[in-house]
Amino acid sequence: MTKSLWIAAAALLALAGSAGAQEADVKPAHQQWSFDGIFGTYDPAALQRGFQVYKEVCSACHPLKHLAFRDLGDIGYTADQIKGFAAQYQVSDGPNDQGQMFQRPARPSDPFVGPFPNDEAARSANNGALPPDLSLIVKAREGGPDYVFGILTGFKDAPKDVKLNPNMYYNEIFPGHQIAMPPPLTADGQIQYADGTKSTVPQMAHDVVTFLSWASEPNLDERHRMGFKVILFLVIAIGVLYAAKRRVWSKLH
């Protein structure tokens, strides 16, 4: 009876595990993330630094359309800061009473404004390549945050036997090793962090991946908190119910 239970458990795990069967050419190294593990949470300081990296480096090409400016409240910005930040962008609105569309400053309730009005404009500005939206990038790639970090820090000179196609760059982690994105994080001190942290390339990569992980999964903190309570409750319930079951069944002689 126990043997069959073990076989069944191992079997199901094997079957379920084969769910993630796609392999990357090179597996990215595992990084330490503040949100790893069952007690993991997002580091608020890293989130704000990461947002700064996104704003000053990545947002030139990559949209973040599933976030709204008001979501920045979750990473510690005040309502006034958010209002001011949003107002830096112009959005299309209307039609007005004359029937025309017009531009107005963005409000906190608006979604993030992307750098291009549509995909075709984005391709035209990037040699035909489309910079993907980053709202879900960490969940949309096998390897998650480790993969994105690996890409950002994986730019190297192409080995001698590799011929780079035009407008491509060599990247250790990207499948096929040729990526259309030029290395975005090039030098230490590329940006000045508002909190004074030294902005080395690995630091910037780490912070922006933390930010992008939050962007992909903003509810992780709440999910972990709730999960702890639910599982604690269930463990207690299991204990009580098992005792009750034994008691009830003991009645059968």
């Binding site: 009876m1 076989i7 069944a8 079997a11 199901l12 094997a14 079957l15 379920a16 084969s18 769910a19 993630g20 069967a21 796609q22 069952i38 599933h66 976030l67 979501d71 993907p132 709202s135 879900l136 969940k139 949309a140 790639r141 096998e142 998650g144 499948p175 992909s216 903003p218 509810n219 999910r223 972990h224 709730m226 999960g227 702890f228 639910v230 599982i231 269930l234 463990v235 319930a237 299991i238 119910l241 098992y242 009750a244 079951k245 009830v248 069944w249 059968l252 002689h253």
Partner: protein
């Protein structure tokens, strides 16, 4: 006035209703005093777990449908809105997403339990076949449900599977166009999949009702596979199995909670977090894990038509298991050879699942063919032969004597 039994409410209101519509009396008979074999093991918990999963899926699905938009240009965004803006939307979505997987886990275990203990044998053949119908309906529901988020895997999985119907000679491509409502998987396809995905669970409820009526006609099978002969063989469903099912439910919910709260995307495919792009095929098109064995069977032969026929046959063969198995003995406990080859079937299904997750190249092709071959060999050749050739162990006189004859403590 109709009398209700011990422990049930006996107020005037209840008697008034019951005289006109004997609902309380029926509940009390079917769930309370209902005689159940005293020796059911935990492998018998999975039926009630499946019923509970059906309810959880329907409730979470109905609430999700209040926020979801089944239009191809808005579906993906509406799901993201659920995840980010709707109160507890992320929880509802993860419950529904992981619930589908656990629903299949529970049902697959339930099916294998039936295969091991001969629960499909006389007089439960119809009960078994209704179960296979439920499995088919679940597969259709799950397939259409996966299309709804309109991610890359949603779109391309739908494209691959609907294209299968073009294998039908003469009318194949017309049928595919009919299914699609267009020239590819597109907005009309999504709309109708949403409608049917909402409908089918209610059909499942109906078939489950029939499944339970069939079950209650002759009662549950048991690990010994022998019929109950007297009152010493049975115990009332309440409190024994209500408490045992509750305990099993709590353990199951713990696994469910660990998945939902700490690994909600473990069973999923990252590609589905990229919006559907009809102009770009993902490098590997893989269905959800619960379809992998069938996917492997589909790809085990080079011919498209035969692959489709083989895949459907792998499920249809389940319908005729009651007649394929010729053994006069139900439970594998008393069938020394069948007991061992049962595990070969389990292994072949797992190998098929593993193969289904990989591209059909190299060693995966060989492994897949061997496993698929064994799958059909098991049902079509071994089951009929074993029944005739195997020498079963002697059966105990009754459930009661088998249970009490040991150490005096009831079998778990």
């Amino acid at each position: 006035m109709a009398a209700t039994g011990p422990g049930m409410p006996n107020s005037r209101i209840v008697r008034w209703i019951d005289y006109r519509l004997p609902f309380v009396k029926m509940m009390q008979h079917e769930l309370y005093e209902y005689p159940t074999p005293r020796n059911l093991s935990y492998w018998w918990n999975f039926g009630s777990l499946a019923g509970i999963m059906l309810v959880i899926m329907m409730v979470s699905g109905i609430v999700l449908a209040m926020h979801y938009t089944p239009q191809s240009n808005e579906a993906f965004d509406s799901v993201e809105r659920i995840m980010r803006d709707v109160n507890y939307g992320w929880l509802l979505r993860y419950i529904h997403m992981n619930g589908a997987s656990l629903f299949f886990v529970v049902v697959y275990i339930h099916i294998f339990r039936g295969l091991y203990y001969g629960s499909y044998k006389y007089p439960r053949e119809l009960l078994w076949m209704l179960g296979v119908v439920i499995l088919l309906l679940m597969m259709a529901t799950a397939f259409m449900g996966y299309v709804l988020p309109w991610g890359q895997m949603s779109y391309w999985g739908a494209t691959v599977i609907t294209n299968l119907f073009s294998a039908i000679p003469v009318v194949g491509s017309k049928i595919v166009t009919l299914l699609w409502g267009g020239y590819t998987v597109s907005n009309p396809t999504l709309n109708r999949f949403f409608s049917l995905h909402y409908l089918l669970p209610f059909v499942i409820v109906g078939v489950v009702g029939l499944h339970l009526v069939a079950l209650h006609t002759h009662g549950s099978n048991n690990p010994l596979g022998i019929d109950h002969k007297g009152p010493g063989d049975s115990i009332p469903f309440h409190p024994y199995y209500t408490i045992k099912d509750s305990f099993g439910l709590a353990v199951f919910l713990l696994i469910y909670a660990i998945l939902v709260f700490y690994a909600p995307n473990f069973l999923g495919d990252p590609a589905n977090y990229t919006p559907a792009n009809p102009l770009q095929t993902p490098p590997d098109i893989v269905p959800e894990w619960y379809f992998l064995p069938f996917y492997a069977i589909l790809r085990s032969v080079p011919s498209k038509l035969f692959g489709v026929l083989l895949m459907f046959s792998s499920i249809l063969v389940l319908f005729i298991v009651p007649w394929l198995d010729t053994s006069p003995v139900r439970s594998a406990r008393f069938r020394p050879i069948y007991k061992k080859i049962f595990w070969l079937l389990v292994i072949s299904v797992l190998v098929l699942g593993y193969v289904g997750a990989h591209p059909p190249e190299g060693i995966y092709v060989i492994e897949g063919r061997i496993a698929a071959f064994y799958y059909f060999l098991h049902f079509l050749v071994l089951l009929p032969l074993l029944g005739k050739l195997e020498r079963p162990r002697p059966l105990p006189l009754s459930i009661g004597s088998a249970v009490l004859g040991r150490s005096g403590t009831p079998a778990e």
